[in-house]
């Protein structure tokens, strides 16, 4: 009843090309933005802001990046966290060594540095495909891990390789309270999400998807394959770099080498898969899911199992459940939560009629 398109005619290409062509969608999005930008910072507790929403948004940005690379361009990557690491350390070093540099410029530069590294690791992708490429990105992961721990210059000679991010200030305004940090990250996430959506519906996005679906045919049409892949690597790494910088500055405040290890890469990969490959919404849905599910599982297991368990058994059981959940997801809805949401909307359009 509510979600009907009846009476909504799109008579111009402009109207048809909109991100949200249906009026109800536009209204819903506007409301979501108002809640996110106005209601949440006022009403949410510090715990929710710092422990749930901040990491969710920061990781969602990385998931957006991986989505561009794997979802749109079809290039499989296991080195996402390495590019986050590059972004974090780059941002730290820029703030450290360039006096008076504005914070936002630091973030952009950090992203660009990560993009540069991404391009280097993307160069082989013209010749190697599929799993071979995945292993190449794994090499990036291990190498970057080693580099930042061994070469002391990056962490300003910190003995453990841990860096502490400098306090954030934008135009004289200190960004220290949870609410302000949240708003900063939310704004950046919103801008980057919009950019990603725009890219997906213009020539660049189509070129990516063409290369993903059948690169031989894409070449024959005139799409330059190497350049398309490199652009995907560059932009994806930019996003991951910004995410890493935000992780260091806005979320935790420190970065230890393990923060961006292989586990992190997998976590982001799962976000993208569970959320939905090739969708912008999927990055956010997946991120929320990955962060909330362990909490949920923890709570459920504690309810069921009353007796004292051997230490560590709980986390091992969680591991089993988590693995099983991934398999179930892949079997039941390989296109992820975003697809489930789409199906729900389609059913809503018909409701209360069955078909």
């Amino acid at each position: 009843m509510i979600y009907r398109e009846a009476g909504q005619f799109r008579t111009t290409y402009v109207a048809d090309q909109r991100i949200f062509p249906i009026t109800q969608d536009r209204v819903a999005m506007a409301m979501l933005l108002i809640v996110a930008f106005v209601v949440v910072p006022a009403a949410a507790s510090n715990y929710v802001l710092t422990a749930l929403l901040l990491p969710m948004l920061v990781l969602a940005i990385a998931a957006l990046g991986l989505n561009i690379l794997t979802g749109y361009a079809g290039q499989f990557s296991l080195g996402t966290a390495a590019f986050m690491s590059v972004g974090a350390f780059a941002a730290y070093n820029f703030q450290l060594r360039v006096p008076g540099i504005p914070l936002l410029v630091t973030f952009v530069l950090a992203g660009l540095v990560a993009a540069g590294v991404g391009l280097v690791f993307g160069l082989p992708s013209l010749r190697i495909k599929g799993f071979y490429l995945a292993v190449a990105t794994l090499a990036a992961q291990f190498f970057v891990d080693w580099l930042f721990t061994k070469v002391a210059w990056f962490s300003n000679d910190s003995p453990s390789g841990t860096i502490t991010a400098q306090p954030m200030v934008i135009a004289g305004l200190p960004i220290d309270s949870p609410a302000r940090r949240y708003l900063l990250v939310l704004s950046i996430a919103a801008v980057l999400a919009l950019a990603a959506k725009n890219l997906s519906r213009t020539a660049t996005g189509r070129a990516w998807m063409a290369v993903r679906d059948m690169d031989v045919a894409a070449e024959v049409i005139g799409i330059p394959i190497l350049r398309t892949k490199l652009v995907a690597f560059g932009i994806s790494s930019f996003y991951c770099g910004v995410s890493g910088a935000l992780w260091a500055f806005a979320y935790l405040g420190t970065v230890e080498p393990q923060a961006f290890d292989l586990q992190r890469s997998f976590q982001i990969l799962f976000m993208v898969i569970i959320g939905g490959l090739g969708t912008v919404m999927g990055a956010f849905l997946g991120s929320a899911f990955m962060l909330l599910f362990p909490l949920f599982l923890n709570w459920v297991l504690h309810l069921i199992v009353r007796t004292e368990l051997r230490p560590g058994l709980l986390s091992q059981l969680e591991l089993v459940f988590f693995g099983a959940l991934i398999i179930v997801f892949l079997v039941v809805e390989p296109r992820g939560l975003a697809r489930l949401w789409q199906i729900t909307k389609e059913k809503l359009r018909l409701w209360p009629f069955p078909h």
Partner: protein
């Protein structure tokens, strides 16, 4: 078809040979196509027809011989360059981008014409939007021309085979090519679909001025729409002329129907 005055030569293939290891796909093939013509390439399976198309648009580089297109002679050409010079094609096994909608597939056909850089596209508002809308308009004209408006938002993977072939044609036409290479555009279609496809190809040739080279097995189609026919057999050209001339050519008949051997004649005599 009949009575059409041939324009200047657009494509000239001279002495082209191509082998894969020990297999000779093409042996010294010579022919030319005039601007505005519909030229059909026919021949038994394995005669080298697809390989010939692949050589023309640069997917394969011939071992010998040259291709002269729009006045430029070369042996090998990168497919990207071929596309930039106005050669578009379709494939035997549909090479559509299965993950995208019909509209998006057709829009990829205009990839070479879209200039705005990545940053503008990320912003969308402004020059990028203008460009996107302009090309949308052109793509819609082709969609209209081929009557696939009703499925423009459907993911191609879900379409029926005949419609997919039409979408592939639309994608090729969206590039506004001078030369259109069609590899078995009507394979697997029923009679109605074939008639529709014939009409579209002829309309493209007439209204859009596209020169067409097509590989086709259905003789009725070839006789109907082709201005000239080139016949290949085992990589060699064995006939070249109007459909009527080719149909009467004894070598062509032998290639398609086979030459009777002594044993055959004895068998026929014995059975009669």
């Amino acid at each position: 078809m009949q009575g059409k005055v041939p324009g200047p030569v657009l494509l000239e293939v001279r002495g082209v040979s191509l082998s894969f290891g020990g297999v000779h796909a093409l042996r010294e093939v010579d022919f030319h196509v005039s601007e505005g013509e519909v030229c059909a390439i026919i021949g038994p399976n394995g005669a080298g027809k697809s390989s010939l198309l692949n050589v023309i648009n640069g997917v394969y580089a011939p071992g010998a011989g040259t291709i002269t297109y729009a006045g430029q002679t070369r042996r090998a050409m990168h497919p990207h360059a071929a596309a930039a010079q106005g050669i578009a094609r379709t494939f035997q096994n549909i090479a559509l981008f299965k993950g995208m909608s019909v509209l998006d597939n057709v829009m990829t056909g205009r990839a070479l014409k879209m200039r705005r850089g990545v940053l503008w596209q990320a912003l969308y508002w402004g020059p990028a939007e203008k460009e996107e809308l302009e090309h949308r308009g052109r793509a819609e004209k082709i969609i209209d021309f081929l009557q696939i408006e009703h499925v423009r938002r459907t993911p191609v993977g879900r379409l029926a085979y005949g419609l997919q072939k039409r979408v592939e044609l639309a994608r090729a036409l969206a590039a506004e090519p001078r030369l259109l290479l069609l590899d078995e555009p009507m394979a697997g279609m029923n009679i109605e679909e074939k008639q529709d496809m014939c009409r579209f190809i002829l309309d493209a040739n007439d209204e859009l001025g596209v020169t067409v080279v097509l590989i086709e097995h259905d003789m009725a189609v070839v006789m109907d729409i082709a201005d000239r026919v080139v016949v290949l057999d085992y990589g060699r050209k064995i006939a070249d002329g109007t459909p009527a001339e080719v149909r009467a050519n004894p070598e062509v008949i032998a290639a398609y129907l086979g030459v009777p051997t002594e044993a055959d004649e004895r068998a026929v005599a014995g059975a009669g």
